[in-house]
């Protein structure tokens, strides 16, 4: 079926030069980076699909907003603009800016979780779970089983399994569950959305037991686009209306503005509860900054306020998700195994199927990301065993069901031709996959190891051999 074009509802106003590299240069660079794409220098990267976080292109209006920054320490006009944008589009009562999303997670976890508590969520996210664990809580995955199956074509693979949630409540008691963390979309599942129906049911169940629901709203507008296009009752509603309804089923949110809100830095915590807002404001001043700037320059709050307005425009989101689908469809057409259905912010290569001969303790996804860089200078990110870390009790590697390489698409940055180059490289690599070599740790940090870990090939010195072994 011919799909209607997703052409961008903007033209380009400012460009940033890229540096082309040779394969020999990239082979040197990946060794220097310990085969960890996080440790590559950005000037050695051609197309940077490491993350969609903070990498967006701002609009001319946002840049104009940058010039309107009110850098007063207290009571900046930009704060009030941001507060009213969040209230208008997300609908929460109290807005506390933070320097980025993890600042909001840090404060929410410290404010709500007591040692011995359980925090259910629809799949873990790396920084979120570490904050929950450091506050003494234990994360419990209550996402539906199909989320762990890369081949399942369910429309809302991010949904919470209400039976799993009920069983958890029965087992530990509602009193030991301070809140449920509801991710929309679910990053670690491949950018999969939750349905409005599911959000409503989760809310009913949690409210009955007095459990709060906090939305990880980082990519909530992208989730709303999927609700609009996949949940029939919402086809005629605007993204803004859908977003308001989704948020109404929750008690607050943590937000990394670096995704949906189209900014390079910034986040916020938004809550309805007055006491929690008070506690959070007392904490934000220690960790982030006074509650009217939260560790952000005034200009960055202004850019975020304007970005929120832009993010709920249908044409914007149609082009955004359309571009991701475009890349995914080319890759899939060539038979490369990816997570189905294609998610909102990236394409997730299924490394277990891509590299069935590399055992899991040789980190196939990490090897695939390194090899992709060597092949074409495209930078992707491992989302598998390296990201999952070790079990705090047994000290053993966790091997999550999904071992993925994420090609994350920054918003409004790359063109269709860039997507074509990326697809060509992935497909070429798939055809020479026998030349990819597994990896072993040479340095392993204790927390969030994927950021700074270093690796070496298990044999030889190249992660991508030009010629496959016989």
């Amino acid at each position: 079926m011919l799909r209607r074009s997703w052409a961008e509802p903007f033209k380009i106003k400012v460009v940033e030069q890229l540096r082309m590299t040779t394969r020999a240069e990239r082979e040197r660079a990946i060794v220097e980076a310990g085969h960890n794409t996080f440790l590559l220098r950005s000037e050695d990267v051609y197309i940077d699909l490491l993350t969609d976080s903070g990498t967006s292109a701002m609009s001319d209006r946002q840049w104009a907003g940058m010039m309107l920054g009110d850098e007063a320490y207290a009571g900046s006009a930009n704060f009030y603009h941001l507060e009213s944008a969040v209230r208008e589009f997300y609908g929460y009562k109290h807005v506390i800016p933070t320097h980025q999303g993890r600042g909001a997670e840090h404060i929410l976890s410290r404010s709500c979780i007591k040692p011995g508590d359980f925090v259910p969520g629809n799949m873990y996210f790396t920084t979120t779970r570490v904050h929950q664990e450091l506050a003494g809580g234990q994360f419990v995955d209550v996402i539906i089983d199909q989320a762990h199956d890369p081949g399942s074509d369910l429309a809302f693979k991010g949904n919470v399994d209400l039976d799993k949630l009920s069983r958890l409540i029965d087992r530990v008691g509602a009193a030991r569950i301070p809140y449920l963390a509801l991710h929309a979309t679910v990053n670690m599942a491949g950018g999969q959305p939750i349905s409005m129906a599911n959000a409503r049911e989760v809310s009913v169940l949690c409210r009955r037991h007095g459990i709060k629901v906090f939305l990880d709203a980082t990519r909530a507008v992208e989730n709303c686009y999927f609700i609009k296009t996949r949940e029939p009752a919402y086809a005629d509603k605007s993204l803004a209306e859908i977003l308001r309804e989704l948020c109404s089923y929750t008690d607050g949110c943590t937000m990394s503005g670096k995704k949906d809100c189209l900014v390079n830095i910034g986040g916020f915590l938004a809550v309805n509860d007055d006491d929690l807002a008070d506690a959070a404001r007392n904490m934000v001043v220690i960790y982030e900054g006074l509650h009217t700037y939260g560790g952000l320059a005034g200009r960055d709050m202004e850019a975020m306020a304007i970005g929120i307005h832009e993010s709920v425009k249908y044409e914007h989101m149609h082009a955004r998700i359309g571009q991701v689908q475009y890349l995914g469809e080319i890759i899939e057409r060539e038979g490369v195994p990816i997570v189905r259905p294609i998610g909102g912010h990236g394409i997730f290569l299924n490394a277990l199927e891509f590299l069935p001969n590399i055992p899991r303790d040789q980190f196939p996804a990490q090897a695939l990301a390194a090899a992709l860089y060597v092949d074409s200078g495209v930078r992707a990110m491992e989302r598998g065993a390296v990201s999952a870390g070790r079990d705090p009790e047994t000290g053993k590697n966790k091997f999550p069901p999904l071992e993925l390489v994420r090609l994350t698409i920054p918003r409004r940055v790359y063109t269709q031709a860039h997507m074509d180059v990326t697809a060509e490289s992935v497909v070429a690599l798939y055809q020479q996959r026998a030349g990819i070599v597994g990896l072993k740790f040479t340095y392993e940090p204790r927390h969030l190891r994927f950021f700074q870990a270093r690796f070496a090939p298990v044999e030889g010195d190249k992660v991508l051999r030009s010629q496959a072994l016989p």
Partner: protein
């Protein structure tokens, strides 16, 4: 030429909204007599802080446009790292979203119950971070620091003998590090001499203790060393800065002051083991090690700002413009902390309003008065900022803690206000001084548990 002018001209301006005295009266009541709770658009001259309020240069704005927003390994980070290495001599440079994040990371790692951290004078967020970790923050300024009229050239110095006594009293193993704040903000923006830094370093060496700088205003301190310390006049500020950092094992820096940036901070470390632990904590709470919770463009602005701040024409203008306000206020009989500090004028509120008892917060009364008179926003640095609820047993002036000054700080944003703005501020202060007996004390009616000065509310007595 005798007159020291700004070594720049204005490229971009921000309009000021004028208010009437009646409007300000309403604003003040709505904000619970706490200027932290007043909207910036209701302020005419904002001297609340010099932190993050500076005007960036066109070169810094060019850097803002050049910002590489890559999540990892951004070009902007490497440019920033190289500049900071050259400026400080430190190899390991961690960016943070601002100074208090550097402090939090440091004290989460080295603080904790039973620990004691000495400083010449801890600033409010430093103290809060140390106490939050369970450790005790001890101030050891020289005796002269307590006398607002004393003209000692380096009133920010640490009392080295008192440091030795503290180490003997509590034992070196309970002291994770010795910190010196340059310039000493809570003590009136007073500089610390190189001689004093060297003496503290020697004590630390003798006891095997790490020595850290809170280096937010390192350039202003270095310039005052050049101007005031015997034997230093012939050296460049860059050399003095290098020596200051060279004496330390680590430093926390808020780039919002001498970094001439609106946001950003740094943690400098030499110890590799501590660096690894700090990096892990940085990633968890701030951001990846090559962006530290900042946009790439902010790293560019910092790299350029830290370069501009050590230009001696800039520092001459900066220090002279603060002195100018101090001289005019002193000439008008307003009691101020002498000599004027590097970044602010501190009015001695206790001397200005002897009729208001300390428990009615004379500093806060002056702050409210200045806002009423001229829409000038200043900040209390006294019993509101550093006092504690009586129930905590940590009331200042209690055993072991020196009595505090009741000060009102007029902090000068860098490169923002002109001489005519300053003349207006002086007039407002003089008008307040003339009607000082009409000032009324305040009673705190809402008191948050930590850093209460930010969100407390008051009523007039």
């Amino acid at each position: 030429m005798k007159t020291i002018i700004e070594p720049f001209r204005i490229k971009s301006i921000e309009p000021i909204r004028m208010t009437t005295r009646e409007q300000r009266e309403i604003v003040l009541r709505e904000a619970g007599f706490n200027l932290f709770l007043v909207r910036a658009t209701d302020v005419i001259i904002d001297l609340l802080t010099d932190s993050g309020t500076g005007a960036m240069s066109s070169e810094q704005w060019a850097g803002i446009m050049r910002g590489d927003e890559s999540y990892a390994g951004a070009v902007s980070f490497y440019r920033f790292q190289e500049r900071m290495r050259k400026l400080t001599g430190f190899e390991h440079i961690l960016p943070t979203h601002q100074g208090r994040a550097s402090e939090r990371i440091l004290f989460e790692l080295v603080g904790g119950a039973g620990k004691v951290v000495p400083n010449n004078t801890h600033f409010d967020t430093t103290r809060a971070n140390i106490e939050h970790s369970g450790a005790v923050a001890v101030d050891l300024p020289i005796a002269e620091a307590a006398d607002p009229t004393c003209l000692h050239p380096f009133k920010g110095n640490m009392d080295v003998a008192a440091l030795e006594r503290l180490i003997d009293d509590v034992g070196r193993e309970r002291i994770p590090l010795v910190m010196v704040t340059v310039t000493n903000n809570s003590g009136g923006g007073q500089p610390v001499s190189l001689e004093n830094l060297r003496a503290v370093r020697a004590v630390c060496d003798r006891h095997g203790l790490p020595f850290f700088l809170d280096a937010c205003r390192f350039a202003e301190n270095a310039y005052l060393i050049k101007r005031r310390e015997p034997g230093q006049a012939g050296r460049s500020v860059r050399e003095i800065v290098l020596e200051m950092f060279g004496l330390a094992d680590g430093a926390t820096i808020s780039a919002k002051k001498d970094g001439l940036a609106n946001i950003g901070g740094l943690l400098l470390l030499r110890d590799e083991a501590l660096l690894h632990r700090a990096s892990n904590l940085l990633i968890l709470t701030e951001g990846f090690i090559t962006y530290g919770g900042l946009a790439g463009r902010d790293l560019e602005a910092m790299a350029q700002g830290f370069e501009e701040v050590i230009h001696e024409d800039y520092l001459a203008y900066r220090i002279r413009s603060v002195d100018y306000v101090g001289e005019r206020l002193a000439a008008a009989g307003i009691p101020i902390m002498q000599p004027p500090g590097g970044h602010a004028i501190y009015i001695d509120a206790a001397a200005l309003c002897p009729g208001i008892p300390r428990d009615q917060f004379p500093g806060q009364a002056v702050v409210c008065g200045l806002y009423r008179v001229g829409g000038v926003r200043s900040v209390e640095i006294g019993s509101v900022m550093f006092g504690k609820p009586a129930a905590s047993g940590l009331v200042h002036g209690a055993k072991g803690l020196p009595p505090r000054l009741e000060l009102v700080r007029l902090a000068m944003p860098r490169r923002v206000y002109t001489q005519s703005h300053m003349d207006y501020v002086v007039e407002a202060c003089c008008e307040l001084g003339a009607s000082r007996e009409k000032l009324r004390g305040l009673r705190m009616v809402h008191e948050p548990p930590v850093l209460r000065h930010f969100t407390a509310r008051f009523e007039e007595v």
